[in-house]
Amino acid sequence: MAILSKLILLLLLAAAQVEASSSSEIMDFDSESDRNRYSKLISELRCPKCMNTNLAGSDAPISKDLRSKVYTLITQEGMTDEQIIAYMRERYGDFVLYDPPLDGAAIIIWLVPAGLVLLAISILGLALNRIRTPKKVVVGEEQRTEMQVLLKDD
């Protein structure tokens, strides 16, 4: 059992290694906090050339350029994280953000499922209502006497 858990740990570590090694440039930072900011930013920003890869994980030339841009903006321009994200957004649009602001087209994505849920609930409500209220049957005079005859027979 101990061997198995060690093996699992090893596999997990190997997976983590693959994840981290995509951006291989060696960057020098003055402080550990700058390095952390760099890693955080390049994992939060999306590669504009790719459909679903962050800057950290992409080999596209543009990602390499943008990584070095982020590096320069941190180490030489002294920009804050917000400023760097605004910088990228100004040039590449909301696409570079993995967490785009809730406006414009993005609002539809949030409202449609909510609307569908509401629709489903109202249909369900109607259906349940129908089941609960017993059906009213209009019975004519002839049928009434017929029924009484049948009931008497019993």
Binding site: P48, K49, M51, A60, P61, I62, D65, L66, K69, R89, E90, R91, Y92, G93, D94, F95, G115, L118, L119, S122, I123, L126, A127, R130
Partner: protein, 199 residues
């Protein structure tokens, strides 16, 4: 949900069972239409530019054909400009080259080439061999101006008005069809406002 009221009234007047009977069909049609729309939408790799109606970024760059000369944003003002981002490593740039030559011949646009992340010597010999469609050739070896323009590949093209405001961006090549559909009408509008200001 505002549009929820309509269908519910309809349901109760039609009878729920009739509605329920057609619900699967309605759902199927909805899903099919959504899927087909997504399928034909195309161009999913083309990002909307956040630079439309914003001024062209300031820059200072070397002239490809004369390294002693520098080119800046000032050189792009005064009349409508077509800025084309290209490179010798980009096959699509070769296929759009003739269209650019045609545009230079047919219009009085200022044609500006940005040689993007390229080897300048290769770029010069390319222009020698294929013809030079540009009035100005900007060197952007590191792709710095490219980043300011939100460029993430080549070719990309920008149409600027006479005040250096970006009015249109094209990702991918300009061919005759694209020119007629995306650029020509816009250019006609830009030129007419330009003429009005001149007078």
């Amino acid at each position: 949900m505002i549009q929820g009221i309509g269908p519910i009234k309809l349901f109760s007047s039609l009878g729920l069972s009739a509605v329920l009977r057609f619900l699967p069909l309605a759902l199927f049609v909805l899903i099919a239409v959504t899927g087909l729309t997504g399928f034909y939408l195309g161009d999913r790799d083309k990002l909307p530019s956040s630079l439309i109606d914003r001024p062209f970024p300031n820059f200072e760059a070397v002239d490809l054909l004369d390294a002693a000369q520098s080119i800046s944003k000032q050189d792009l003002l005064g009349k409508p400009v077509l800025v084309n981002v290209w490179a010798t490593w980009c096959p699509t740039c070769l296929s759009e080259h003739q269209s650019l030559m045609d545009i230079k011949r047919k219009t009085d646009l200022l044609m500006v080439g940005i040689n993007y992340k390229d080897d300048s010597e290769k770029a010069i010999s390319w222009l020698d061999q294929q013809g030079n469609p540009f009035h100005l050739n900007i060197v952007d070896q590191k792709g710095e101006l490219g980043i300011d323009l939100g460029v993430y590949g080549a070719p990309e093209s920008f149409l600027l008005d006479d005040r250096g405001i970006i009015r249109h961006k094209r990702i991918g090549d300009i061919n005759e069809r694209v020119w007629k559909r995306e650029f020509k009408p816009l250019l006609a509008r830009l030129s007419s406002t330009h003429d009005k200001l001149e007078r």
